[in-house]
């Protein structure tokens, strides 16, 4: 076991000795900063002033009603007006929550790391040194995979910290980030951590699946460009495939149809007879297939010249 730990440690050493890893993390931070600037600018357009906020909310309601009269935001705004609860506006915690939209950037950089971590060893030729040591190929495969997950976690922490810090700079500490939500016809106060856990969590499922996919291709074909390219393409384009084949009986077994778990929180399902349990089981099955296929091909294939 300590042996496995050492292998993961080695992978981390190698990863953070490469400039490209730091550039990826740097890009993440810059994007968070950009997002904060955009949000700050947008907020400036319609601020909630002490005297006029009720009026502002009513104007908002008219806008919502034109698009969708059943919009839950209307009920929430009315509740605020009745109970004299002025909206907080953006705060550091609120911005941290909003940054869950940036998890696709997180997915992207994790895919880039996952797609390169094995393929690069082949490109550099160092795979020969790695695979002529007492560690088995299986151990090396899983140490690298664990290292990818560790990187994703690190990047997530970087996202959290930079989002909170930029939120703090641009919006101030403000309130605790809790919001009102309409749940079963009643207005409830939801804490920021609940919302973070839910919305980040659902996005991280996608991240795990696509970076595992990239890792599989990297292990099987030993080509990082192929691994990164296919994973990113499927991540963005896969969803649109579903709408073409939604009426086919096999459609619900397709990964893309199940992967977006937010469809179960919003209720807009891609295929009518999907259930949350079915989706979770399907995702796990695909995930395990990716991992096993990558592992078997990596462990069995010859390491010959290029």
């Amino acid at each position: 076991m300590s042996n496995f730990f050492q292998l993961v440690r080695n992978e981390q050493t190698k990863l953070y000795s490469q400039l490209s890893t730091w550039i990826l993390l740097g890009i993440l931070v810059v994007i968070v900063l950009g997002f904060a600037i955009i949000m700050r600018t947008a907020e400036g357009i319609m601020p909630y002033e002490d005297e006029t906020w009720k009026q502002t909310l009513q104007e908002e309601n008219q806008m919502y009603a034109e698009i969708d009269p059943t919009d839950p935001n209307i009920a929430i705004n009315n509740y605020r007006i009745e109970n004299d609860l002025k909206p907080e506006g953006m705060s550091a915690w609120g911005f941290l929550y909003e940054s869950h939209y940036l998890t696709s950037v997180l997915s992207l950089i994790t895919i880039i790391v996952a797609g390169g971590i094995l393929a690069n060893e082949f490109r550099w030729g160092t795979i020969k040194l790695l695979l002529t040591r007492p560690a088995t190929r299986t151990k090396i495969f899983f140490a690298k995979y664990a290292s990818v997950l560790l990187f994703a976690l690190t990047a997530l922490i970087v996202l959290f910290i930079s989002a909170w810090l930029f939120g703090m700079i641009f919006f101030g500490l403000g309130g605790d980030g809790s919001v009102l939500q309409l749940k079963d016809g009643e207005i409830v106060d939801v804490s920021v951590w609940t919302r973070i856990a839910q919305d980040y969590g659902l996005q991280l499922v996608k991240l795990a699946v696509w970076s595992t996919f990239a890792f599989m291709i990297s292990a099987a074909f030993r080509n990082s460009a192929l691994a990164i390219g296919t994973a990113i393409f499927l991540m963005f384009a896969g969803i649109s495939v579903v709408s073409f084949i939604a009426d086919k009986p096999f459609a619900k077994y397709i990964l893309f149809a199940n992967l977006d778990l937010t469809q179960f929180t919003t209720g807009y399902k891609m295929i009518d007879d999907l259930t949350l349990t079915f989706a979770i089981v399907t995702i796990i099955v695909y995930y395990l297939i990716f991992l096993v296929v990558g592992w078997v091909l990596f462990a069995k294939r010859d390491v010959a010249g290029h």
């Binding site: 160092t126 020969k128 002529t132 040591r133 007492p134």
Partner: protein, 308 residues
């Protein structure tokens, strides 16, 4: 004889329908430097890749200290240090960090051991520099350092002198010999440079088109090497007397043909032969020493260098 350090047993490799290595059978002893000689495409690298488990063995086996690389990989590979083809290391890390990373893959390698191998390959001054700034020769040295980290009892070097300058080649040769002689390491080196191999190997296996066509013993200690062939030019009337003298005093059988007497002898005995023949009043018109080099033998067995 002690247990062989490595045994190749009917080793074959087939890729697609092509048989690349066609059944190799030989042993390598501890403390021996074994040379793997052959033209481009002979299958040297392919054989080495099988020895270290990088590619699957199609048929046969490789046993390292008695352990099969196929079924007992971990126990077998523990004894091996290797460079396969080029010494490729992580360019974005320093030489030292490279060694540190590899040292973590095998338990029990201390920092002192790292410093020791760095010194052994003479890289102390540049070890903290990034490897991408190393010259090929420096990378070759670092490659050897990583192969030696865990005190392997078998060292496998695929073309270790590739890219080295003459003094670098001599140094590598010297510590390959030292490892074999003092630490009883079995060293396997591949090369297509004969002159190189002759100087550092105890035995050379000649590989051609995936087959071992000859194994030559090399005598490095010049004194007892019967590699010299002496030809004396003297009238046939003296032949019988000379032959008897050579047989009695030196135990060699001289062949007579025309005016010439030919016999093999070690270099060390040449002065006393000349003296004895002169004392015996044998009329010599010429005394020639020919050295039959491995190069001649190699070209003889390899023939035309046609890559299949």
């Amino acid at each position: 004889m002690a247990e062989p350090a490595m045994q190749l047993i009917g080793l074959k490799k087939q890729i697609g329908s092509k048989l690349i290595v066609k059944g190799l059978d030989f042993d390598i002893q501890p403390g021996e430097v074994f040379g793997f000689l052959g033209p481009n495409g002979a299958g040297k690298t392919t054989t080495i890749r099988m020895m270290v488990g990088l590619i699957r063995i199609s048929e046969g086996d490789v046993r390292i200290q008695g352990k099969s690389i196929k079924t007992d990989y971990k126990e077998a590979i523990r004894h091996v240090g290797a460079i396969v083809e080029n010494p490729e290391l992580y360019g974005f890390m320093s030489g030292y960090k490279n060694l540190l990373v590899f040292s973590r893959m095998i338990p029990g390698i201390s920092r002192e051991r790292i410093d020791e191998v760095v010194k052994l390959v003479g890289l102390e001054k540049r070890i903290h520099q990034k490897v991408k700034r190393y010259s090929l020769g420096m990378r070759q040295r670092l490659g050897i350092a990583q192969a030696l980290l865990h005190n392997p009892s078998i060292l496998i070097l695929d073309e270790p002198t590739n890219g080295l300058d003459p003094s670098g080649i001599r140094e590598i040769r010297q510590y390959i010999r030292r490892l074999a002689e003092q630490e009883n390491v079995a060293v396997i080196v591949s090369s297509h440079l004969l002159s190189e191999m002759e100087l550092m190997c105890d035995r050379i296996g000649i590989l051609k088109n995936g087959e071992l066509i000859s194994i030559q013993q090399i005598q490095n200690t010049e004194e007892d090497a019967p590699t010299e062939v002496v030809q004396i030019d003297c009238p046939p009337s003296y032949h019988e007397k000379a032959q008897r003298l050579l047989q009695e005093r030196f135990g060699v059988t001289a062949m007579a043909s025309g005016e010439k007497l030919t016999f093999p002898i070690t270099r060390g005995e040449i002065p006393s032969i000349i003296k004895e023949l002169a004392v015996a009043d044998i009329e010599m018109h010429g005394f020639a020493v020919e050295r039959k080099t491995l190069e001649d033998k190699f070209l003889h067995v390899i023939g035309e260098n046609v890559i299949e």
